[in-house]
């Protein structure tokens, strides 16, 4: 398994009577940027939760960062995996500011009974600067716009110093300008740190151009996979989504 950081074998996941993943197998090499696309309910998010151990396998196994995942080691493995989900609506009165929210990313690695050091706070400030929201560091987290909130979520994942970066529709529910900014940031981060990245989206316009491999998911299975150029063809996308889908020119070119 040289250079392989994720290997999923015949993964089956079900939520009560619904089977979300039906025997999915996948191998991911270190430093790869993989896009995962498919219609709603295809199992894209569930696939990410298998990688960070939040999803429960009914059948199959997952090898992540050198260990086979089981109930006992998933918590410690999550400390090495950054996870950014969709924008969520949070209580605007929540008693925590942006800087503290970003610092939460360090808490897993820091462990119990240990307080953040000055160096860690400085690292948080550096990352906030990098993602472009240093001026919002003292603002309550509930007062950010969708785009700002996603920058804070990305900053939180970065201070975690992850070896794997999972992005679950990070540009959903935010306007197009903010989408473009977030995508530029994600590409910049990949070029800078070279982290293994899994990027889930159902909106093909939001696929980053650094994407090296595209996985097409349908009905809980990996339906096809290959280079973006080979996958982003009108007939393939029409079959995947069950309706005519325009091919995004930027990434396919």
């Amino acid at each position: 398994m040289d250079n392989t950081v994720i290997e999923i074998q015949d993964a089956v996941v079900s939520y009560r009577e619904d089977v979300a993943l039906q025997g999915v197998s996948l191998e991911v090499r270190k430093g790869e940027f993989i896009g995962i696309i498919g219609p709603n309910g295809a199992g894209k998010t569930t696939l990410l939760t298998i990688v960070n151990g939040l999803g429960k396998l009914v059948h199959g196994q997952a090898w992540v960062l050198g260990s086979w995942l089981n109930g006992r080691n998933s918590n410690s493995l999550r400390k090495r995996i950054g996870y950014v989900a969709q924008v969520e609506r949070i209580d605007p009165r929540l008693p925590i500011n942006v800087r503290e929210t970003v610092m939460v990313g360090c808490y897993g690695r820091l462990g119990l009974f240990r307080r953040p050091t000055r160096a860690q706070w400085e690292r948080v400030d550096e990352v906030l600067e990098m993602v472009g929201i240093a001026h919002l560091s003292q603002r309550p987290i509930g007062h950010l716009s969708g785009g700002e909130y996603q920058r804070a979520a990305i900053a939180r994942a970065l201070v975690q110093q992850p070896e794997i970066f999972l992005l679950d529709e990070p540009t959903a529910s935010i306007d197009q300008k903010a989408q473009r900014e977030i995508l530029s940031l994600i590409q910049l981060i990949h070029r800078e740190y070279g982290m293994t990245t899994l990027f889930v989206t159902h909106d093909l316009r939001t696929l980053p151009s650094v994407c090296q491999r595209l996985i097409l998911m349908k009905d809980g299975n990996i339906w096809q996979q290959g280079s973006p150029q080979s996958m982003l063809r009108e007939e393939v996308l029409t079959q995947l989504f069950g309706a005519p889908v325009p091919v995004p020119t930027e990434i396919a070119s």
Binding site: N75, E88, P92, R93, P95, G105, Y107, G108, Q160
Partner: protein, 278 residues
């Protein structure tokens, strides 16, 4: 005014108010921030039912209260988490069951029910030395745990899913907070009373929630409001000859009303309705 301090029972009551005010308010901050108010009410009624079972069967009511409140937390937590049933529905069912059990145990109790009614309304003026020692021990444990696990607690109550995703033992912390609520209610049951205890948990914390965006400040403000509620309620009880538990709860509700009226957060109310934009 200082004459109030010369009586031994009043000294005990003031100390109980200080300890109960601290513990209830600290736990209240977690309950309010996580929007678990109804779960807390349910645990409070479970403690009440357990204490009445103890009184009926002749064992220490505090043991009954502790067992019932912890059992309620253990049942409600997973139900609310897994989403197998609508949490409001399932918690409502447990809540009504606990209330039903409380009245059943009371109905089955032979003879006078003075002690049971004291558990209803509380009797801070009759708090004795063992009650105070128990309350002090619980206060020490709760405050110590909050200091030791502050950063994990902050992560879990503000961003529970994120806490889980970064490798914090979020589930253990969450259940720890629910069990702390149960233990706090048990410790304060004798002095504040089963029906009133929950107001002392909810009101000071909810008032503090209106006034600050800092969790540390929220904890300190809630504790101040909790202790002020207890002491002002006691003073009202002494000078106007009204039930102490009711006076404490009404004071805390007035503080909440004032905090809401003057809250700097009122102007951000619209954020909850506003669409998400870039």
């Amino acid at each position: 005014m200082l004459s109030i301090l010369q009586y031994h029972f009043m000294q005990n009551a003031i100390l109980a108010g200080l300890l109960g005010g601290i513990t209830c308010s600290v736990v209240g901050v977690f309950v309010v921030t996580m929007h678990l108010s109804f779960i807390g009410v349910c645990i409070a009624h479970a403690a009440f039912a357990g204490a009445l079972l103890g009184l009926w069967l002749g064992f220490n009511p505090l043991i009954g209260a502790l067992l019932f409140s912890l059992a309620a937390a253990a049942i409600i937590g997973p139900v609310a988490d897994r989403g197998e049933l609508n949490p409001d529905t399932s918690i409502g069912i447990v809540f009504s069951l606990m209330l039903g059990l409380a009245f059943l145990f009371m109905g089955l109790m032979p003879g006078a029910r003075t002690e049971a009614l004291n558990l209803f309304w509380g009797s801070i003026l009759t708090v004795n030395q063992p009650d105070l020692i128990f309350l002090a021990a619980i206060t020490g444990v709760i405050v110590g745990l909050v200091a030791a696990f502050y950063k994990e607690i902050q992560a879990v109550i503000c961003h529970r899913e994120v806490a889980l995703a970064v490798g914090i033992p979020a589930t253990v912390i969450f259940y720890g907070l629910l069990f702390s609520t149960g233990v706090t209610i048990t410790a304060s049951l004798q002095s504040i009373g089963g029906l009133l205890i929950y107001s002392l948990i909810l009101n000071p914390a909810a008032a503090a929630y209106q006034l600050t965006y800092s969790l540390k400040r929220m904890l300190l403000i809630a504790v101040a409001f909790g202790v002020i509620s207890c002491w002002a309620g006691l003073a009202a009880s002494y000078f106007f000859d009204v039930p102490s538990g009711a006076a404490i709860v009404i004071t805390s509700a007035i503080i909440f009303g004032l905090a809401t009226a003057f809250s700097p957060k009122r102007k951000v109310k619209g954020w909850q309705q506003a669409p998400i934009t870039g």
